[in-house]
Amino acid sequence: MSNTIVKQPEPLIFELSRSGRAATAQYPPAATAEIPAQFRRRSRPALPEVSELQAVRHYTRLSQMNFSIDTQFYPLGSCTMKYNPKACNSLAMLPEFLGRHPLSPASTGQGFMACMFELQEMLKAVTGMAGVSLTPMAGAQGEFTGVAMIRAYHRARGDLARNEIIVPDAAHGTNPATATMCGMKIREIATLPDGDVDLAALDAVLSSATAGIMLTNPCTLGVFERRIVEVERRVHAAGGLLYYDGANLNAILGKVLPGVMGFDVIHMNLHKTFSTPHGGGGPGSGAVGVGKRLLPYLPVPIVGRDGERYRWLDERDLPESIGRLSGFMGNAGVLLRAYVYMRILGADGMERVAEFSTLNANYLMTRLREAGFDAAYPGRRASHEFIITLRRQAHELGVNTMDFAKRLLDYGYHAPTTYFPLLVPECLLIEPTETETREELDGFVDAMTAIRHEAETDAAMVKSAPHTLPVRRLDDVRAAKQLDVAWKPAGA
């Protein structure tokens, strides 16, 4: 069993600290700051005092307690944990890019802006949209942007009563949370047993109050919404707009354009489809694309081109823009990584993304079914991901999805997404991505099979997994009830 290197808990950096110890090579020359006493801090903040080597060793050891794409198969459904090419990182970290101040005149940023302009153009092309803004800093902010634009569109038409957003019950939690943030009411609609949206339920909620619908396609159940054309006709006929949650864009990249499906607005998770690093939970990047109707409302700034020169388009160019979402232009460094990725893949490479992520998912689903696991939607093709339900195992063996997930860690695999979507009991949402080899997928099937065998023979061992990681299962209840979220110096 392959696993992390560091097995023992690592002390807190504060516990390594000794008063008077320092990484002095990092200090600037001493200077006197003339700040009047009334504004001054009275005692030094409780920060650690360690040597440079201590810090390096500490954070290196902490890194070795993590599972990551670089070290493990990480089939976390709905997160697209594919290989993050090293070139994307190293080129985005060229010193000129790192050193560029966001408010520098455009005349000193033509190289950077050329990359951003081309990125906008490529994203338009892969989504079939008329315009793109790169500023949203994460998928959820992209969603917010999209719903805010839908709201602005209806308002501009004087259609003030449209305050309802339709969300399928299979949607990511961010969808309803976003709609609420935008002051919208949520109308949830059911999903049919085969995974498609229930058109009758849709008809029942469409009205003159409908602002729009938020859809992920393929949806979070890992299947393509086959009646998307009917959905599009109905929503548009009712006066609503269609929002495409790009969480699963990897499944259709180069095969279907959201614009062609009739969507009016889309956000893309560049940290999923375009392989920018997840960084332990961010940064993301949630660029948005819009059809013609929503062009005037795009958030600023956007890179524009006058002849051979690039310039920032701002509120003066787009007076109806919903405005700004970040201090500057969003996560520029993430955008550069996505740019490099897209240039290396090219048009051809991007079509292969959908093909091979779908191939891997269908292969893995087939093999798991052959091994005796139950697909949640056995009559359907997998998209780039699929759901296995362990309901039968939970019932027969008393070993649930969380137990399988924790035991997988012992086998050196990051667990798939567990207990999401909420519609399928005891579910694992599995997304292998296109960058995994067949051998890796086979190894995962072997591990699942072995765990089931363990569950049959020694359920208690599986239920108390993991056994080979730096810590065993953690007491979540204690974490929430006896809240300890910051170290405090003794006596504080």
Binding site: V477, A480, K481
Partner: protein
């Protein structure tokens, strides 16, 4: 099998109601509900004096993995929230129909559309969902 005392009324959203001798009512969540949520880590109870309509969200119960609103089955004015729950949310797990009560209110007669079930009907409801 979860406990469903025969002397209480229930809602389909798993609240229970007890009418106290002075005509006020006590509200909590059922044994089935607490079991489904798991170990509770936080409970938010309403302040005394708050006016509720039938169907209003009046409290929040939170476990590690879930959070649920508690809906007031009837309208009225809150007399008291169970302040003990602030430090001991586990009272709901241990004693959902007793020390784990969530609020007491003086009803105004507003029944809203909420259907109140007796123990038998609620037991059937739980069994059907199970």
């Amino acid at each position: 099998m979860s406990k469903i005392p025969g002397d209480l009324r229930y809602t389909k959203s798993h609240e229970w109601l007890r009418t106290l001798p002075d005509g006020s009512i006590e509200i909590g969540i059922s044994d089935h509900a607490q079991a489904a949520l798991g170990d509770l880590v936080f409970v938010e109870v309403p302040e005394a004096g708050r006016t509720l309509s039938a169907g209003d969200a009046c409290a929040v119960v939170e476990s590690v993995k879930a959070a649920s609103d508690v809906y007031s089955p009837v309208g009225g004015e809150v007399i008291a929230g169970n302040d003990q729950l602030a430090t001991k949310p586990e009272l709901i797990n241990a004693d959902p129909y007793g020390q784990g009560w969530i609020l007491r209110m003086r009803p105004t007669g507003d029944r809203g559309g909420a259907e109140l079930l007796d123990a038998t009907a609620y037991a059937a409801e739980v069994a059907a969902a199970g």
